[in-house]
């Protein structure tokens, strides 16, 4: 094989080699070099499925990252700015990548660089600033009636982590968890885990937030949010940080006596039909797939939607940054939920719950969107 001669310009039609330009150092060079552009990621990418355009695929975005890193495109380029926000960050591509490209980390590095100063989407900047204020988070949780902090962390007990948005938006979730984790404490002074910052251009600050939260809660941390659990596990270690479904299932399997008696849920006298939308970070980042399904199956008829493992389009700030694409990505699931005649649709992350609830309302479906522990709570004896 012979490559065409190297040129120093990037005019139309000139054939360049990848080593022709000096990298700017925006990305970890090993991470960027891992992609060989085979395209195996294309068929699983939710945004590529919508447009069939290369820039909407993981491979196309990595080509854009390379162009940015090698100076062929400037950070002001409109496509770079658009695509940095257009990727859902669901990391489904990582699960099919034979080369083991760590796309999620590349995306973090891209947004760290791209979303600085005036290039930061206002929604991302506002959220990053908002969830940084721990006293406000605590107050929000108290006002809305989330699980009440129990004081300083007891290292011997598992700690329930209070999601910074979940406390205020879905306060019942943390309260329900305590019914299944009677031995857990709820350490006071919990801040945000940083996942939101890491995915929105602030990965350095995010890592510091994760470490601070880890110090507030020495020992095992249990999270009701797939996104928080995956990020925190990445920072503090998966052995310390567990998402609620994997924690409950492991505990109940190790000690069946610790499992409360749960009845089978019925709707109009027949077994309840329950579907699931995975949390992408949980499924693709942490590899937790079976536990939520196994728990649902304990109380209802579990129905696997064809798109169960595909992003719901909520994706952190995505539904606000990219409302049209966000809806388009969700639409197939709404159709499937209707066809499957679901009674409940389970989510594992606060952002997914919001996105699914909005979609269900828009499509006028009868299915009720709940968090996994809310479904399990329904199955507790009265």
């Amino acid at each position: 094989m012979t490559a065409a001669p190297e040129h120093s310009d990037a005019e139309a039609g000139s054939t360049l080699t990848d080593s022709a330009l000096k990298p700017r150092g925006i990305f970890d060079p090993d991470l960027l070099a891992a992609c060989i552009s085979c395209g195996f990621c294309l068929p699983v990418c939710p945004t590529y499925a919508q447009t069939k355009a290369e820039a909407d695929s993981p491979r196309g975005r990595i080509t854009l990252m390379r162009a940015l890193d090698e100076g062929r495109l400037d950070v002001d380029d409109s496509t770079l700015q658009e695509q940095a926000g257009r990727c859902l960050g669901c990391r489904r591509c990582e699960t099919v990548c034979p080369a083991g490209v760590k796309y999620g980390e590349l995306l973090e590095q891209w947004r760290d660089h791209q979303w600085r100063g005036r290039h930061t989407p206002p929604v991302a900047a506002a959220l990053r600033a908002g969830v940084r204020v721990t006293p406000a988070l605590t107050a929000g949780g108290l006002v809305r009636g989330a699980a009440r902090p129990t004081g300083a962390a007891d290292p011997q007990r598992p700690h329930l982590m209070l999601g910074c948005l979940e406390r205020s938006l879905f306060p019942k979730v943390s309260k329900a968890v305590l019914k299944f984790l009677p031995d857990a404490d709820v350490p006071a002074g919990q801040g945000c885990c940083g996942a939101l910052h890491a995915h929105n251009g602030g990965s350095v600050e995010a890592a510091e937030m994760a470490q601070r939260l880890g110090a507030t809660m020495p020992g095992t941390i249990v999270s009701t949010s797939g996104g928080c659990a995956a990020y925190l596990a990445h920072q503090l270690g998966h052995e310390r940080v567990k998402e609620i479904s994997e924690f409950l299932l492991a505990r109940w399997e190790a000690d069946p006596g610790s499992m409360p008696s749960l009845r089978r849920l019925t709707v109009d006298g027949r077994p309840a039909r329950v579907g699931l939308k995975d949390s992408c970070q949980l499924r693709n980042g942490l590899g937790v797939i079976q536990p939520p399904r196994a728990l649902i199956a304990k109380v209802a008829d579990y129905v696997e939607l064809p798109s169960a493992g595909v992003c719901c389009g909520g994706a952190g700030t995505y539904s606000m940054l990219q409302p049209e694409m966000s809806k388009a990505v969700l639409d197939p699931t709404l159709v499937q939920a209707r066809e499957a005649d679901l009674d409940y649709l389970v989510a594992l992350n606060v952002v997914c719950t919001r996105q699914l609830q909005a979609g269900v309302k828009r499509a006028r479906l009868r299915v009720k969107v709940v968090h996994l522990v809310e479904l399990l709570e329904l199955a507790l004896p009265d």
Binding site: G39, P43, T79
Partner: protein, 476 residues
């Protein structure tokens, strides 16, 4: 006019030039504004395909939705001398879709309709942008088999497979893409829409243009619709794995299998480096210490498959296999095949650049070729990992390197030059299934000779008088 060398056809007059405003306006009128990409950032993702080291930015990217739109674009490009590089999913490994001379990259991924699958006629009709896996899955749902099985099947488009004459894992028993193309709808560079072949297994009216266009790498026409032959789905398919001390030993086992009179569906092999790269990704419990792995498999009736697999297992043991295991169910068989398809990208774990080749030799000389490749790699001091379709004599020696490592790239190119010469000397070819593209253009004349090269140019000129389609490649 720009002439790239004394024997090549002239490049079109728009080669290497920016696209003028009038042309952009006309393109937008033809396919709609949002399907014409013009900014640097928008066209950059189309500057490369799955081939390492090749990259060139298009002047404009056009995504048509219909044959009529393709025709209008080509007619205009011919009139104005603008280069056009057709592209499917961009998964080819020969730099065949790199727009070396700029101009239009014509992307067919929006044409995704499966028009018909006919169990009665055992055929399917699909638009250009349908992926190979979508076609195969839709056929399988009706109990039918689309036999061609290229490694990139989940990504690659059917028309792309036809344009490159893609091979794959079932070549020995079932042949390759060309054996299943019954008919094509093709837009000529000058805009006329022709239909070659059709729905018939027997049809000898005129030259076999279907075969000529199959493997024409986007230099003669743009394929917009494909009619393919299907087969009844075999009742049973099974695979097994045998481990050997070396790739050459596995090659001798393959010769033994064919000597036994078997024509199995699958005979794939991987060397130790490939086994480890694939195992890192797929985690199937492969033997990481083995020198080589031979994946053998067959399909058919339960009895015939049973017989075929036990014969192959016995042959492997007789020729020195250090272990033979059978996949216990369909899922395990599929996992093995999927892992094999991932060999190339999995090798990317070893180093930043994976330079893959596709030399093919007559089957009985497989083991000899494997030894010769190892010797060539050692002489040029490069790391080579080899896998391939052993049953077809089709090897994929892959040199992995870090471009920061001095002159390694030149050593790799020199090594491959020798590999090609060796393959030709043994009665083989420079490419079995990946195609020539820009990547193997320097070696094409060695394989074809001057007279045949001249004929290719006359054919190219007959199809494409303005020389706009994928200029500089194949018959140009």
């Amino acid at each position: 006019m720009i002439v790239s060398d004394s024997t090549s056809l002239p490049l079109p007059r728009g080669a290497g030039r920016p696209i003028d405003q009038q042309t952009l306006d006309d393109l937008r009128r033809i396919v709609g504004g949002q399907h014409v990409l013009t900014t640097d950032g928008d066209v950059e993702p189309y500057s490369r395909d799955a081939t390492p080291l090749f990259r060139a930015r298009p002047g404009v990217v056009v995504l048509p939705a219909s044959t009529g739109e393709v025709s209008a674009v080509l007619r205009m490009a011919s009139e104005r001398g603008i280069p056009v590089t057709p592209r499917g999913a961009g998964s080819n490994l020969a730099a065949a879709t790199i727009p070396e001379h700029g101009g239009i990259v014509l992307v067919l991924t929006r044409m995704t309709t499966i028009k018909e699958i006919s169990p009665d006629e055992l055929l399917a009709v699909v638009e250009a942008g349908v992926t190979t896996a979508e076609l195969a899955d839709s056929a399988a749902a009706l109990g039918l088999l689309y036999a061609p099985d290229p490694g990139s099947r989940t990504v690659s488009t059917v028309a792309g497979n036809v344009a490159m004459c893609a091979g794959g894992l079932r070549g020995l028993k079932y042949g390759v893409t060309r054996n299943y193309v019954l008919g094509l709808e093709v837009v000529l560079p000058t805009g006329e829409v022709i239909r070659t072949g059709g729905r018939l297994w027997k049809d000898v009216a005129g030259y076999d243009l279907t075969r000529l266009l199959t493997g024409s790498e986007g230099t003669l026409g743009v394929i917009t619709e494909v009619t393919v032959a299907l087969l009844p789905m075999p009742a049973v398919a099974r695979t097994g794995v045998a481990y050997f001390g070396s790739l050459a030993d596995a090659g001798r086992a393959v010769a033994g299998v064919i000597h036994d009179g078997l024509v199995p569906a699958t005979l794939e092999f991987l060397d130790n480096r490939c086994i480890n790269a694939v195992e890192d990704f797929a985690k199937l419990g492969l033997d990481r210490d083995a020198g080589a792995l031979l994946l053998f498999g067959d399909d058919g009736t339960a009895e015939s498959v049973e017989r075929s697999l036990s014969l192959m297992a016995a042959t492997c043991e007789r020729t020195g296999a250090r272990g033979v295991t059978m996949a216990k169910d369909i899922a395990e068989s599929e996992a093995l095949l999927t892992a094999r398809r991932c060999s190339l990208p999995a090798l990317a774990r070893l180093a930043p650049v994976t330079m893959l080749e596709d030399a093919t030799v007559p089957r009985p000389r497989l083991a000899e070729m494997v030894d010769r490749i190892d010797a060539i790699a050692a002489r040029h001091n490069v790391v080579v990992a080899t896998f391939g379709h052993a049953g077809d004599g089709n090897l994929h020696p892959t040199i992995v390197f870090d471009p920061a490592d001095g002159d390694v790239r030149h050593r790799a190119e020199a090594a491959f030059g020798e590999v090609f010469d060796t393959a030709i000397e043994m009665g083989g070819t420079i490419t079995g299934e990946h195609g020539v593209g820009a990547a193997k253009r320097p070696y094409l004349q060695r394989r074809l000779g001057a007279d045949q090269m001249a004929l290719l140019r006359r054919l190219k000129a007959a199809f494409d008088p303005a020389g706009i389609l994928n200029p500089g490649k194949l018959g140009s």
